[in-house]
Structures are given as structure tokens and as C-alpha cells.
């Protein structure tokens, strides 16, 4: 019994002694830190994705507290709301940035873009890209080995085995930009996020001439320029045999969609315009459903 008591007592004394030592050491080596950093860090999403350009949320929080001007900083995951909250907490002005979403600009499905050889190496787009042109004849298209998928921390990307292409889950995507860096073909762009996840884009990045594009892929942009002519807002430009829709200018009128001979212009969560004879469609002003879309998107 005595032994037991002794043991318990010794341990208690030892514990107390160590606690005191620890307390003084902690006092002595205390790092003074702005408490606002902790508060800001709490407001950040905590994904540590690096989408802001910093090593993690903590580093971002430090930068937000230290910098006087935080309009150049932006957390794509938290978005405008989070930025606004943090800016008002710190008494600084929030950066203005519209929400964005990752968009994969290749429409060359297995059916439209036949495979002409069989790749047998490491399953990585980066490896394929340094080796050769890829399994299809197109030097610009999606390789389908999913380097972007593995780079995404939010599970927003997936490979569709039927089309062999990458698909973006717009609700999960936070526009952190990791996939943009991961894609060796530069196929992923952060584009403006319209309400209701609507989207319109040219699903092709091929700078080859029309004939070469047609040979490799039936869904590619051949740079014919029809869309550029029909666009009432001047949102489409054709450069290097490739059309590009500027999301800032586009009003989602969808006139270009029916003009495209190869179907390279993709629309998401929208119905295409009814196919009308060309002449009246070009002349008549925007029809009613388009008007609705416009008002919504410009809100």
C-alpha cells in the first residue's frame, strides 16, 4: 500500500513540476502574432488548395492581414462572399471578381476523334505529351489520362470513359486553377460562371488549319469565322484558325451555335435556338427566350 502511495505521489509531483517548467518555457518563447490572422484564417475555406497563389490558407491569411491593399488577393474557393467578409473584418476594400468555373475546351470525343494508335506507357498526360502527339491525330486535344483529375482537390473533375474526355462538375469546382496548371495541353480555362451553371464556349483549341482539323477530328473548330460574323456583341474573335468566345462580352444569345459547321460551340444548361432558315434568323432581333436569358445573366 505504501509503495502504491509513493508511486502516485512521485508521479503527481513530477507532473506538477513539469507543468510549471512548460508554463515558463511557453511564456519565454511565446511568438507574438497578430490575432487577426487566426480570425481571417477561420474565415477562409481551409482547403489549402493554393488557388490564391500562397502555400496554404494560413499564408493567405497572413498576407491579407499584412498587406494594406488586398485587392490583388483573391480566394477563388471562398469566392466574393468570403472575400467581402474578410475585407470588412480587416477594414479594407474587397477585391471585385466575378465567380469563375473551370471549363475544358475540347470536344473531341472518341466517336468524333478516332484513335489512330494505342498508347501503352505510364498513364499520365504529361508523359504522353512529351512523348508524342497522342492517340488521336489532333495535337491540341484532350489526352484523357486525367492529370487534371488527380490535381483537383475538390473532386470536381472526372474522365468520362465513353467520350474519353474530362467533365467538370460545376457545383464542386471552386476555380482554384490547379487543373489549369496540370493540363499539359492548356485545355482548361477559368471562365465566367453564369447563373444556373449556364455556359457557352468553343470546345476546341486546335490552331491547325481547317483541313488538318477535319482530318483528325470531326468536332474541331476549323476557323471558318461564321460565328464571328453572326455574333451581335462582338464577343467572338478568330485567331490562328481558332474561334474564341469572350465570356465578358457574350450575352448567351446562342446565335453562333447553329452557325458552327462542326458543332464546336458547346452550350451547357441551355436549349439551342430552333433551327430556322438562315436569312430571317440573322435579320430578326433577339427572340423572346433570349431576352430572358440576357436579363438574367446581366443581373
Amino acid at each position: 500500500m505504501n509503495e502504491l502511495l509513493l508511486t502516485v505521489l512521485t508521479l503527481c509531483v513530477l507532473g506538477g513540476l513539469l507543468a510549471v517548467i512548460l508554463y515558463f518555457v511557453a511564456q519565454k518563447f511565446k511568438v507574438e502574432e497578430d490575432p487577426r490572422i487566426d480570425e481571417v484564417e477561420k474565415m477562409l475555406p481551409g482547403a489549402n488548395c493554393g488557388g490564391c497563389g500562397f502555400a496554404g490558407c494560413r499564408a493567405m491569411a497572413e498576407a491579407m492581414v499584412k498587406n494594406d491593399d488586398i485587392t490583388t488577393l483573391y480566394c477563388p474557393v471562398g469566392g466574393a462572399d468570403a472575400m467581402h467578409a474578410m475585407a470588412s473584418y480587416l477594414g479594407k476594400s474587397a477585391p471585385v471578381k466575378s465567380p469563375q468555373v473551370a471549363t475544358m475546351l475540347c470536344g473531341g470525343t472518341c466517336a468524333k476523334r478516332p484513335k489512330i494508335n494505342h498508347y501503352d506507357g505510364a498513364k499520365s498526360c504529361a508523359v504522353v505529351n512529351t512523348l508524342y502527339v497522342g492517340e488521336t491525330g489532333c495535337a491540341f486535344g484532350c489526352l484523357g489520362y486525367g492529370d487534371c483529375v488527380s490535381s483537383c482537390q475538390f473532386g470536381a473533375l472526372s474522365v468520362n470513359p465513353e467520350t474519353g474526355l474530362i467533365e467538370v462538375d460545376m457545383d464542386k469546382c471552386t476555380a482554384c486553377g490547379a487543373c489549369v496548371k496540370a493540363c499539359p495541353k492548356g485545355l482548361i480555362e477559368l471562365r465566367k460562371k453564369w447563373p444556373k451553371n449556364r455556359a457557352i464556349y468553343v470546345a476546341c483549341r486546335s490552331k491547325s488549319r481547317g483541313a488538318a482539323v477535319m482530318k483528325a477530328c470531326k468536332a474541331g473548330c476549323i476557323g471558318c469565322g461564321k460565328c464571328e460574323k453572326v455574333c451581335p456583341f462582338g464577343a467572338i474573335s478568330v485567331e490562328n484558325n481558332l474561334a474564341y468566345i469572350d465570356p465578358e462580352k457574350c450575352k448567351l444569345c446562342r446565335k453562333c451555335v447553329n452557325e458552327c459547321p462542326t458543332g464546336a460551340i458547346h452550350i451547357v444548361n441551355m436549349e439551342p435556338l430552333p433551327k430556322e432558315p438562315k436569312a430571317p434568323a440573322a435579320k430578326s432581333p433577339a427572340a423572346e427566350p433570349k431576352g430572358e436569358v440576357k436579363t438574367e445573366s446581366t443581373k
Binding site: 489512330i116 494505342h118 498508347y119 508523359v127 508524342y132
Partner: protein, 317 residues
């Protein structure tokens, strides 16, 4: 022309090695020892081995099927090797359910918990054996049941430790032929050496680990002989190499790829470590045999050895 064009980064040819071939070679190398044990100890050896192998394979399959993603790896024969080595480390008369528990610990805890083949920090068969040795000490050191009368009794290492008789009384020819007491697989010394030579010839293992372990043990034993007045200078080393699990451990257990160092220098350090610890346990420890603990301890040191023993970079001294 119905050609399918392939494209891949170089190299475009492969040496033809495969995990399955390597494991198959190990199984093949274990067969002579199995034959000797069966001849000496009877059919129950085959029975126990079969239970251990079947147990390991089934547990691996089930764990992969139920808990893990990805394909199954039972076709690479590594579970068969684990099963055989586990059985070789057990006394012949051990009840079948203990063998199964051993197989479960070896595969389930020793291997699959860490991510399966190549990821285990400790030799799975040893994990199983050590677990059984601690959990079922009576059954694991029962060298009498199911054994021909001439061989029943305690092991030589235990006898010598207890001072029942001395090394000078040992008939080494009998020992080499398998007439000694011990776990199922460790008694056929010559057969084990034969298996080791086969593995060396097939380049499955290199000489560094087995030779450094055995040489360390021999030198250690010789030093003990000198200390005791120069008697038994040759008998002691020979006895320590032949007795117990030294050969089985040095050739088959310590050379397990994922738990041993990668480059020759590291392998030698590892081997010397095993040899020393084995001898220390044998001479002064609580157990008569120390091979499995020695390997286990050095398995734990392997990552450290790998960190400091790196291959020499070309162009540097």
C-alpha cells in the same frame, strides 16, 4: 493491313522479370527443405504447410476483396511464400487453428494493414511467428507432440543454454541431415543451403545479407570460444550456424525485399546487426533462439539504413 500501332516511351523491351517469377523461385528454393522435414518428421509437415499457405492466400484474397480497392495480388505468389515461411517457423505438432491465427496475423496485420506487398515494414511471416510465440508460448515451444521419439525433447539451443549437454557432444553430420529438434523448416540445413544457392544463381537474392549474418555469427561464436580458453574454436561457430533458425532466417527471412536495405553496404550493416543481436539473445537473452527477434529489430532499422546508405553517385568519390 490490320495493324494496331503502339506508342510508349522507351525502353521498348523488358527483361522478363516478374514478381511472380521471383516468388515462384523462392517457393522452389524452399521445396528441398520441405522435403527433408517431411522425411524426418512425417506427413504432418505437409499438412501444416498446406494450412498455413491456404490460410495466407485466403486471408489476402478476402482482405483485398472486402476492404481494399484495386486488383488482387494473390497471383504473384507472395502470400504462398509467406505461408510457407510461417509454417517453417512452427513446431510440427502445433494445432491447426493456431496456424490459421498465425496466417491471419502475418497477412492481415503484418502485410495488408500497411498496404500489401512491398509496403510492409516487417517480414509478415515473422510477424505471425512472433505473435504466436508470445500469445501461445506453450504450443510454440512444444517440440514433442507429433515428432518421432528419437527427436522429441527440447531444442539443442535450449539444451545447451540449460547446460544439459555441451557443444562438444554434437554430431554435426546428423545436424546437417535434419536430425535435430526445432521448427519444421529449420532442420534441413543442407537443403536450406541448396535453396539459397538456387536463389543466388537465379539472382533473386545477393550474397550480402546471408553471408554477413552467418559470418558475424561465426566470428562471434569463435570469439566466445577464445574467451573460454580456446576450446571448440570450430565447433562453436558451426554449431551456431546450423542450430536453430540461423540458416532459414539468413537465407529466406532476412532477405525479404521490402524489409531489407537496398544497396550492398546497407545489406552488410543489416546482416551484421542481425548476426550480433541473434548471438546476444542466444547467449544472454531469455529465449534460446534469437533469429526472429534479430530480424524483426533490424527490419525496423531498415528505413534508417536506407536513408544513410545511398548508392554512390556516378562521378563522385
Amino acid at each position: 493491313m490490320a495493324n494496331r500501332f503502339f506508342a510508349a516511351p522507351s525502353p521498348h523491351i523488358h527483361g522478363g522479370e516478374s514478381t511472380r517469377r521471383i516468388m515462384g523461385d523462392v517457393v522452389l528454393a524452399l521445396l528441398p527443405a520441405l522435403a527433408v522435414s517431411t522425411y524426418v518428421l512425417g506427413w504432418s509437415v505437409l499438412m501444416t504447410t498446406a494450412i498455413a499457405v491456404a490460410g495466407c492466400v485466403v486471408f489476402e484474397y478476402l482482405i483485398q476483396r472486402l476492404f481494399l480497392k484495386g486488383g488482387n495480388t494473390i497471383c504473384d505468389l507472395s502470400a504462398v511464400v509467406t505461408g510457407m515461411l510461417l509454417a517453417f517457423n512452427l513446431p510440427v505438432g502445433i494445432p491447426w487453428w493456431i496456424v490459421l491465427i498465425g496466417a491471419f496475423v502475418a497477412i492481415g496485420i503484418g502485410k495488408m494493414t500497411f498496404g500489401g506487398i512491398g509496403c510492409n515494414p516487417f517480414n509478415p511471416a515473422l510477424t505471425g511467428r512472433i505473435f504466436l510465440l508470445i500469445a501461445y508460448p506453450v504450443e510454440m515451444t512444444d517440440w514433442t507432440s507429433g515428432v518421432p521419439d528419437a527427436l522429441s525433447g527440447s531444442t539443442m539451443l535450449a539444451d545447451i543454454k540449460a547446460g544439459v549437454y555441451s557443444v562438444s557432444d554434437v554430431d554435426f553430420w546428423q545436424m546437417m541431415g535434419g536430425h535435430m529438434n526445432g521448427s519444421m523448416g529449420e532442420i534441413g540445413s543442407l537443403a536450406l543451403i541448396l535453396g539459397g544457392l538456387y536463389l543466388l544463381w537465379r539472382k533473386v537474392i545477393t550474397w550480402h545479407i546471408p553471408v554477413s549474418i552467418l559470418a558475424t555469427m561465426a566470428i562471434f561464436a569463435m570469439c566466445m570460444g577464445i574467451k573460454e580458453g580456446g576450446s571448440l574454436l570450430y565447433e562453436l561457430p558451426l554449431f551456431h550456424i546450423l542450430a536453430g533458425g540461423a540458416l532459414l532466417g539468413a537465407i529466406f527471412m532476412a532477405t525479404d525485399y521490402s524489409t531489407s536495405p537496398m544497396i550492398p553496404l546497407g545489406m552488410v550493416i543489416y546482416g551484421v546487426g542481425i548476426g550480433l543481436i541473434t548471438m546476444i539473445i542466444r547467449l544472454w537473452g531469455a529465449y534460446p533462439e534469437g533469429m526472429s527477434f534479430a530480424i524483426f529489430i533490424m527490419n525496423a532499422a531498415t528505413p534508417l539504413i536506407n536513408k544513410y546508405c545511398r548508392p554512390r553517385r556516378f562521378g563522385t568519390k
